[in-house]
């Protein structure tokens, strides 16, 4: 069966999403086990796939048995093997963690919710695994449509935020489609590897240039790269926690993957970095993104979730900048940060999920005294925050290490300063939150804290805590194994030509 892993990884969730949809009308209790099994299989096969890729190199899976340029093929290499694993593991952990909140928030719609959830994961996994430019568009739309549905299920402002996301996301996807059309008109092919083979003779073509720009802008829109980020904060903030802790870690990261795939495989680094002399300008854009993301997060003084969404905007800047530094180290940092940021974001959003589950809100006012009330949740939050800040041995430090190293090697000190600035801002941001959670309302009696009566401990249920702690442990483990991940996987994910 291991031969069919690449197909299974997408098909099993898809089939089970359909089964869940039917099961939802029969017996709601069936939905979660099916969803869990599907994602477990997906996670298992993605890990299996990753190990096979490590042994054998690129795996090509011909769907329908047609040879690649004719039919659609899956190419699994080190890059998407890694991202696949991350996506499936994050989705699985989040599924377990959000079971309670899903069932509480949507008692009548659990079936459709799980259906959309699994379909979204299917879409994301498909985006990552596919080797066909158009197939990617279709999967992009699956991930997007399900995402709009999931995000809009939250608070009362959610539908409007989601609708704005829909406009922006559709423009982004259409731009990507248009870019693929431009590539198709000059190459006649839709297969990524095939296009890359044809392109070198067309490097000077205006159409290729336009295709590149349009694709990039489309992808940037979808990943909320700074000037195009306006949809993200509201959409994620008002979403139900189960949805936001799935979408926030994965969607932007998968779009970064798409960007890196476009740079590395479709347009080739030669074209992206040498023929087009725009990488410097894009890194400056990333600098602005990082700085503005940090400043916007600083300016947000009401809602924890919204603050985190602005941090996502800044993190997107990290990865775009790292990828566009045009050297191996920077690219390594960007790829590593896809993994790390997905896990970090999952960690903090799960924490927010727990808080919302217990306190019914993530406003800064709701957080008072949380260290006493939910010490275990907050403990995990500290790990996530430390990783976001970039403190060893959590993984966030090491991707930042590679990104800054790349910036130094490229001589791009602006980016380095931006990264350090954002780390410092993250310190301020998270410690502002910690302070709120740590200091209980001050009593007038100025003195030691033992004279007021703190709230009793009221922790989230175990099914929410265990995944959270698994994520926390993964954050540290990934940090400690950074060397192996880079040596064994990421190194091979970057073409030899990129120095």
């Amino acid at each position: 069966m291991s031969h069919n892993y690449p197909a299974l990884i997408v098909v099993v969730p898809l089939l089970s999403a359909l089964v869940i949809s039917v099961a939802g009308w029969v017996n709601k209790r069936l939905c979660f086990p099916i969803a869990f099994a599907a994602l477990a299989v997906a996670a298992y096969s993605s890990v299996g796939l990753l190990f096979r890729v490590l042994d054998e190199g690129v795996i090509v899976y011909k769907l329908g048995g047609w040879d690649p340029p004719m039919g659609i093929a899956y190419y699994v290499d080190h890059l998407n093997g890694l991202v696949l694993t991350v996506v499936s593991v994050v989705a699985l952990l989040n599924l377990i963690a959000s079971k309670k909140s899903i069932e509480e928030e949507f008692p009548e719609k659990t079936g459709p919710f799980y259906t959309l959830y699994i379909l979204m994961v299917t879409g994301l996994l498909g985006i990552v695994v596919t080797g066909d430019a158009f197939n990617l568009y279709v999967l992009l739309e699956i991930a997007a449509l399900t995402g709009y549905g999931l995000l809009a299920m939250g608070e009362e402002r959610a539908p409007l935020a989601s609708l704005n996301y829909l406009y922006m996301g559709t423009i982004g996807a259409c731009f990507y489609l248009l870019g693929v059309g431009y590539l198709y008109i000059v190459t006649g092919s839709l297969n990524m590897v095939d296009i890359a083979g044809i392109l070198p003779s067309l490097y000077q073509s205006k159409a290729v240039l336009a295709a590149f720009i349009i694709c990039m802008v489309g992808v940037w829109l979808k990943m909320a790269f700074f000037p195009l980020h306006a949809w993200l904060p509201n959409a994620y903030t008002y979403a139900p926690s189960a949805a936001s802790s799935l979408i926030a870690p994965l969607v932007t990261k998968v779009m970064i993957y798409v960007m890196i795939r476009l740079i590395l495989t479709v347009f080739t680094p030669e074209f992206s970095f040498n023929v087009l002399a725009v990488s410097d300008a894009i890194v400056w854009l990333a600098v602005i993104a990082v700085v503005m993301g940090a400043i916007l997060a600083l300016a947000e003084r009401n809602n924890l979730k919204k603050m985190l969404t602005y941090i996502i905007v800044a993190e997107v800047g990290y990865m775009v900048g790292g990828a566009w530094l045009g050297n191996r180290t920077g690219m390594t940092g960007a790829i590593l940060h896809i993994v790390n940021d997905a896990l970090m974001t999952l960690c903090v959003f799960l924490v927010v999920g727990n808080i919302v589950y217990k306190v019914k809100g993530a406003g800064f006012d709701d957080l008072k005294g949380l260290f006493r009330k939910m010490p275990f949740t907050m403990g995990a939050f500290v790990v996530g925050a430390i990783s976001m800040i970039g403190v060893p041995p959590t993984c966030g430090f090491f991707s930042k290490w590679y990104l800054i190293s790349g910036a130094i090697q490229a001589g791009h000190y602006g980016f380095m300063v931006a990264l350090l600035f954002s780390s410092l801002v993250n310190v301020v941001l998270f410690f502002r939150v910690f302070e709120i959670c740590y200091y209980e309302p001050f009593s007038d009696h100025h003195g030691h804290g033992h004279d007021h009566h703190p709230e009793p401990m009221d922790e989230a249920p175990l099914s929410m805590l265990v995944p959270l702690y698994v994520v926390g442990a993964i954050l540290v483990l990934v940090g400690l194994y950074t060397g192996d991940i880079v040596d064994q996987i990421i190194q091979f994910a970057i073409p030899k030509g990129l120095v």
Binding site: N4, L15, G188
Partner: protein
């Protein structure tokens, strides 16, 4: 906002026009798009899949994976609309509108106060006096529309059409019923549950066919694996495989269209349509 829009529009438009200069001439038979992949499709389709309609063959066989996800997109849109709009009302409304068929008097009757007579017909709040022509024409037309839809699905191998178009036509026929009569008429014939289940079943037929190929030992969606089940040669098996998935697409699309329409037009209440 208007100025931003204008600037963005002009920038993008400028870029596109600039790039259009390097396009191959319009309708040029020697353009890359026409010479690279498409000749293979045009020339080999018949012998590889035995389907004369190249679009159908490419859609449901060469790029069947795309099409499977296309169907999934529609399905997820259906689920998304459902989850967004559907509201389950816990308590019945106090009063409903009824029309006395014989006299044509419309009245608001409280729940449980309805006289036990068959003369009363439930009507919508937005009810307009029935138009006999529309009702009759629609009732007469719908069977033909549906037969046409089935024909489009079945004959997609040889003529324009296929599961998607046929499905939309079938769905449209039901929507026409809903518009000309009312939503309840549709729900009576096809309950929400059936509709929703059929959506999933349609996609399941598609994806299941692909998975069956996988179980039979070939790659996902390689219909030639079906030869051993259908007792035909592999090429004919491809043709049959395409038919099977087209039927799946048809069912899924039909039901999803009805599902979306019912939810959108009744604002998720499932009581009163247009």
């Amino acid at each position: 906002m208007k100025i931003t829009g204008l600037i963005v529009t002009i920038l993008v438009g400028g870029l596109l026009i600039y790039a259009a200069a390097d396009f191959p001439a319009w309708s040029d038979p020697n353009s890359p798009a026409s010479t690279y992949l498409s000749p293979h499709f045009i020339e080999k389709t018949m012998e590889e899949t035995s389907v004369p309609n190249i679009v159908t063959a490419v859609l449901a066989d060469y790029r069947s994976f795309d099409t499977m996800f296309e169907t999934t997109v529609i399905f997820s849109a259906g689920v998304a609309v459902f989850i967004l709009l559907r509201t389950f009302r816990r308590k019945e409304p106090e009063a409903r509108h009824y029309r006395h068929v014989l006299t044509g008097v419309t009245m608001r009757i409280k729940e449980g106060k309805l006289p036990p007579s068959d003369d009363f017909e439930r009507i919508d709040t937005l009810w307009t006096p029935p138009d006999l022509i529309i009702k009759t024409v629609c009732r007469l037309l719908i069977p033909f529309i549906q037969i046409f839809g089935l024909y489009v699905i079945a004959h997609g191998h040889h003529s324009p059409g296929g599961g998607f178009q046929g499905g939309v036509i079938l769905g449209a026929s039901i929507i026409v019923l809903a518009i000309s009569h009312n939503l309840r008429t549709v729900v009576k014939r096809m309950s929400e549950k059936l509709d929703a289940v059929l959506c999933a079943v349609g996609v399941l037929i598609y994806a299941g066919t692909g998975a069956l190929c996988l179980l039979l030992g070939l790659n996902f969606m390689d219909y030639s694996a079906l030869a051993s089940v259908l007792f035909v040669d592999p090429i004919m098996a491809r043709s049959h495989g395409i038919l099977i998935v087209e039927i799946g697409v048809g069912i899924a699309v039909m039901c999803t269209m009805v599902w979306i329409y019912s939810n959108v037009s009744s604002r998720g209440r499932y009581e009163q349509g247009l």
